[in-house]
């Protein structure tokens, strides 16, 4: 909310420089966001929190200013009440929906000549961003900003039947509002004359009944409307105003009558009219004041600082609360403008914010505890280290993937749609990380980066018969080919202590190239897949290279990870290493070769097998391939002899021949 410094000082002469006053207000929770000079006025921009509609007015802010500066507050004086006329007015008021409109005051100002407002009023309104219209309309805005109570001025003689009804809009009813647009007001609370709606209650008046230069009799509306009703109407019609903003936050019921009298008086003054003794008030009187009990010691218990009861009491009284000692505590009567205060902690906050948050100590008395580590964090840290060390960079991508969402799903089920403000499905949540990673690769390619090796640990989403599902997934994409990306994953598995139980086997995924795809199995559970991304999918994402992508169920990895390490004795006797190359049929896999080699060695001398070359082409018959590997042989208790090693290798070669048709190469 905006206000001008001069205007504020009319209600509380702070006798402070504006910056100092702004600082004091901010420190008490009335945040001054900015101060600027505009059209000869010093304009303050305030950020008023949703719980403080009372501060959406000059008087409300002045009250705060008075409390924080210690300077008195001065409310404008109202003219003495004009006695009601003996004769009944020539217009009627009928509030049909008293629940949504608990009070409606109509007051007539006669003989107005709505010319321009005075220069001073115009300048103030313009400084806070309002457009001056005419003396009458300007008064409603002036008083709205002065005290927070929205008002509306009708041209009484344009109300059909000189009638005012407060009711729900009927099916098919429309209204052209002051903004010139037509609104469908069926179901909304409206002000109507004998024939039709003339205003959207608490939101905006109608064009046809607005005050013009020709108006001579003004009907001034000051009312209380149900906050929720105003809010729903405003949202439904996508129409917001200063009035609707205030009504939906809840207003001071004690201001309604005050605002009506104040505005009428100003209209008489500025509009050179006459306040007619014609007032209709649908429900005079005020709701009872709220009382809140606060037990002795509560303030110290919440704040951790004792505040002198006399000081707390003084703060509350300055703020308009009345405090009664009831033995064992206080019964606090809440002023009508503070609908937000309903519990003892609210009272504590009132005292604390004026006392000063900075005066509350910041010495914590918190016991020392050891926070247990989260297994996810530990596994994620190891994973990130391993991948960064392997040259893979971490990316962060948005969880929405729009049109690409249901390509390459990782989680089974339907894609999850999100609804925009209009209630229509606007976006889809990603069901896998591959499309996001492809987008990142595309960006890298677009900026001339060769070899985008990237990863992210993030959630993917789906909906299945059980409901919405979300799963944390590790996604990796690599430019170095299948084995390079696989190698990086193997490093991750090794760091997570999962290498021993893990294996990869040929598999298929819709978005990966068949025959160039594997799935990761750990202790017979499939944890994810790895493979070359389908060129068609790459094309959709404008990716020119042929990256290899992997996705692993990271939550399963976390559950299975064994991060603790223990020293293992390592052999000190010398080992013998032998290289073997065999020619095999092309379809025979390395896994089969390794399995065969392990099975062939019953002596216990075979320590490890290491693949080092795969060759097809010249020197190898068509349909065949050459696989070269080395075996490490070692005896646990003695130095192995060359003869023993030869025997072992012969056994291995024979087994490869017998079981896999392998022929020792050259």
């Amino acid at each position: 909310m905006k206000l001008t410094w001069d205007w504020l000082n009319e209600y509380c002469r702070t006798e402070l420089p504006v910056a100092k006053a702004a600082e004091l207000l901010t420190r008490a929770g009335v945040k001054v966001e900015g101060i600027e000079e505009k059209g000869g006025e010093t304009v303050l921009e305030l950020e008023i929190t949703a719980n403080r509609p009372d501060c959406l007015s000059l008087l409300g802010v002045a009250r705060e200013a008075s409390v924080v500066t210690g300077k008195p507050m001065r409310e404008p004086a109202l003219p003495a009440a004009v006695p009601h006329a003996a004769t009944s007015p020539d217009w009627t008021l009928d509030v049909q929906d008293r629940e949504l409109c608990p009070r409606y005051i109509g007051r007539v100002v006669r003989g107005v000549r709505p010319g321009s407002s005075t220069e001073a009023v115009r300048r103030r309104l313009e400084a806070i961003g309002l457009r001056p219209v005419n003396a009458i309309v300007d008064v409603t805005n002036f008083v709205l900003y002065e005290c927070g109570q929205p008002l509306h001025a009708f041209d009484l003689d344009r109300l059909a039947g000189h009638a005012v009804q407060v009711r729900r809009g009927r099916p098919g009813e429309k209204l052209k509002a002051i903004d010139g647009r037509d609104y469908d007001v069926a179901g909304a609370l409206v002000i109507a004359d004998a024939e039709k709606p003339v205003a959207i209650a608490g939101v905006m008046g109608g064009k046809d009944t607005e005050v013009t230069a020709a108006t001579t009799r003004v009907l001034l509306e000051a009312a209380v409307f149900d906050p929720l009703s105003v809010r729903r109407t405003s949202m439904k019609l996508a129409l917001a105003s200063d009035a609707s903003y205030r009504f939906q936050r809840g207003l001071d019921p004690a201001r309604v009558d005050w605002a009506s009298r104040r505005a009428a008086a100003l209209m008489a003054e500025f509009g050179r009219g006459q306040v007619a003794p014609e007032v209709l008030d649908s429900a005079p009187g005020l709701p009872p004041a709220r009382q809140v009990r606060i037990a002795t010691g509560t303030i110290a218990r919440v704040l951790g600082r004792e505040i002198e009861p006399a000081q707390s009491r003084r703060i509350l009284e300055l703020l308009g609360f009345t405090v009664q000692d009831d033995g064992g505590g206080w019964t606090v009567t809440v002023p009508s403008w503070r609908g937000d205060v309903s519990r003892d902690v609210d009272i504590v906050e009132e005292v604390a914010r004026v006392y000063g948050y900075d005066r509350i100590p910041d010495t914590p008395r918190v016991p020392i505890v050891l926070a247990p580590p989260n297994p996810f964090d530990e596994a994620a840290r190891e994973t990130r280290r391993a991948l960064c060390g392997a040259g893979f960079g971490e990316v962060l991508t948005l969880s929405f993937t729009g049109r690409h969402a249901h390509e390459a799903p990782f989680l089974p089920g339907e894609p999850v749609g999100v609804l925009g403000k209009t209630g229509k499905r606007e976006e889809l949540m990603r069901q896998g990380l591959v499309p996001s990673l492809l987008e990142a690769v595309r960006t890298h390619e677009a900026y001339g980066e060769k070899g985008a090796d990237l990863f992210e640990i993030a959630k993917v989403y789906a909906r299945d018969p059980r409901g919405f599902q979300e799963r944390m997934v590790l996604g990796v994409i690599g430019s170095g080919g299948f084995s390079a990306t696989k190698g990086a994953l193997e490093q991750v598995l090794e760091r997570l202590g999962l290498a021993a139980g893990a294996s990869f086997r040929a598999s298929e995924r819709g978005h990966l190239v068949p025959g160039r795809t594997a799935e990761l199995v750990h202790e017979s559970v499939v944890l994810g897949a790895l493979g070359e991304v389908d060129p068609a999918l790459c094309a959709v994402h404008d990716v020119r290279s042929r990256p290899v992508a992997a996705e692993l169920d990271f939550e399963a990895l976390v559950d299975r990870a064994r991060l603790a390490r223990r020293f293992q004795e390592f052999p000190t006797l010398p080992a013998i290493q032998r290289d073997i190359a065999v020619i095999l049929d092309r379809p025979v896999s390395w896994a089969e070769v390794a399995g065969c080699v392990r099975a062939a060695s019953s002596s216990g001398l075979l320590e490890s097998i290491r693949f080092f070359d795969l060759y097809e082409g010249k020197g190898v018959p068509a349909g065949k391939k050459s696989i070269a590997f080395s075996v490490t042989l070692r005896a646990p208790d003695r130095t192995l002899t060359s003869e023993e090693a030869d025997r072992e290798v012969r056994g291995i070669v024979e087994a490869l021949g017998a079981k896999l048709g392998g022929i020792l190469r050259g």
């Binding site: 948050y357 509350i360 505890v369 749609g417 976006e427």
Partner: protein, 346 residues
């Protein structure tokens, strides 16, 4: 001659030796020090007149000096007599750049999140996680945020498309803050509770330099008997020093959040100017960093924790904003664009 006399002698020798640049220099020096009439020889003169104890100690010191000087002589002699070395035939251009192994970089948001988590971990806050898909109950109602009220307005929420059109009492949504996780923790544990919850949050904000529809928060919660606002102030002041530097000042301003009472917004002294005022802090010297407050008793009641016995504080901060401040990133969209020149900087 005293101990310091020997040291002085040693220093004198070292200076002379360093100045000897040729074999001839060295020879002259040798005669002066080690020769028959040399300085070392003269040291032993008069030794016999000393009492036996003193004689022994002094003799030992002189001997050590002799050995050291002789060794230094020999080393210097070897160095001077060695043939001058030219460059090796396979000399290399040592100014060529090294072959750097490619290292992957951490993403600054995820590493900032880790840093925040670790700082609070050191203060005894356990890190836990909560679901990203939530319901109106956990995102709003249980946090004392009336759904149909302006207080819910800052949370521009993405609702999920539900097969039954969302007609159930609690609609599904993407959490618009990490606070719903507070409720899950309070429902599943008994106090004392001291946790932080980092994670993604979602709002319908269109992307601009300071907004993204998906961003990150870290939420903190501490519930126990006797937790006070002073504890809140103390913990966050300490955490801010850990996060932004030991000189960081912390300021608490009254504010409003439906789920805390009293509530505060927290500013830290400007990271750039240190509080004197600069464009980054709009001249105020302060930068707003987080929101916090004492857990509203109504929220405790929702979690079936007795507010008469327990109290707590909660806080929440934007990870992206903190990363931007700490790293000087000027546009939040850089974080999600995967630009190699951005990612390569961290």
């Amino acid at each position: 001659m005293s101990e310091s006399g020997l040291e002085q002698l040693r220093a004198e020798f070292d200076g002379a030796l360093a100045a000897a640049g040729t074999a001839a220099d060295l020879e002259r020096l040798s005669a002066l020090w080690i020769g028959r009439e040399g300085k070392l020889r003269r040291l032993t003169e008069g030794l016999g007149a000393l009492p036996p104890e003193e004689k022994k100690a002094r003799g030992k010191a002189i001997n050590e000096l002799k050995l050291a000087i002789t060794a230094a002589f020999e080393a210097r002699g070897r160095a001077l007599s060695a043939a001058p070395r030219g460059p090796a035939p396979d000399a290399i251009d040592v100014t060529l750049p090294g072959e750097r192994p490619r290292l992957g970089r951490r993403h600054p948001i995820y590493s900032t999140m880790e840093e925040l988590r670790d700082v609070f971990g050191r203060l005894g806050f356990e890190c836990v996680y909560g679901p990203e898909i939530e319901t109106t109950y956990y995102n709003f109602e249980a946090l004392n945020i009336p759904l149909d009220h302006p207080a819910a307005e800052p949370f521009d929420t993405w609702y999920l498309d539900e097969p039954d059109g969302g007609k159930r009492p609690h609609r599904a949504l993407l959490r618009s803050h990490t606070s719903p996780a507070q409720m899950h923790v309070m429902e599943s544990r008994v106090p004392p509770i001291r946790v932080v919850v980092p994670g993604k949050v979602f709002r319908t904000d269109p992307a601009d330099a300071s907004h993204l529809p998906v961003f990150h928060q870290i939420e903190g919660l501490y519930v126990d008997e006797g937790v006070t606002f002073a504890d809140l102030k103390g913990v966050l002041s300490i955490a801010n020093k850990a996060l932004f530097g030991a000189k960081t000042e912390t300021r608490f301003r009254p504010s409003y959040f439906p789920f805390t009472e009293p509530s505060a917004e927290v500013d830290v002294s400007c990271l750039l100017c240190g509080g004197t005022g600069c464009p980054a802090c709009k001249g105020s010297g302060w930068i707003e960093i987080l929101g916090c407050g004492m857990v509203h008793p109504r929220v405790l009641e929702f979690a079936k924790i007795d507010p008469a016995r327990y109290s707590g504080f909660a806080f929440g901060m934007g990870v992206d904003r903190i990363a931007m401040l700490k790293l000087g990133v000027t546009d939040i969209r850089h974080f999600v664009r995967s630009h190699p020149l951005f990612l390569g900087q961290w």
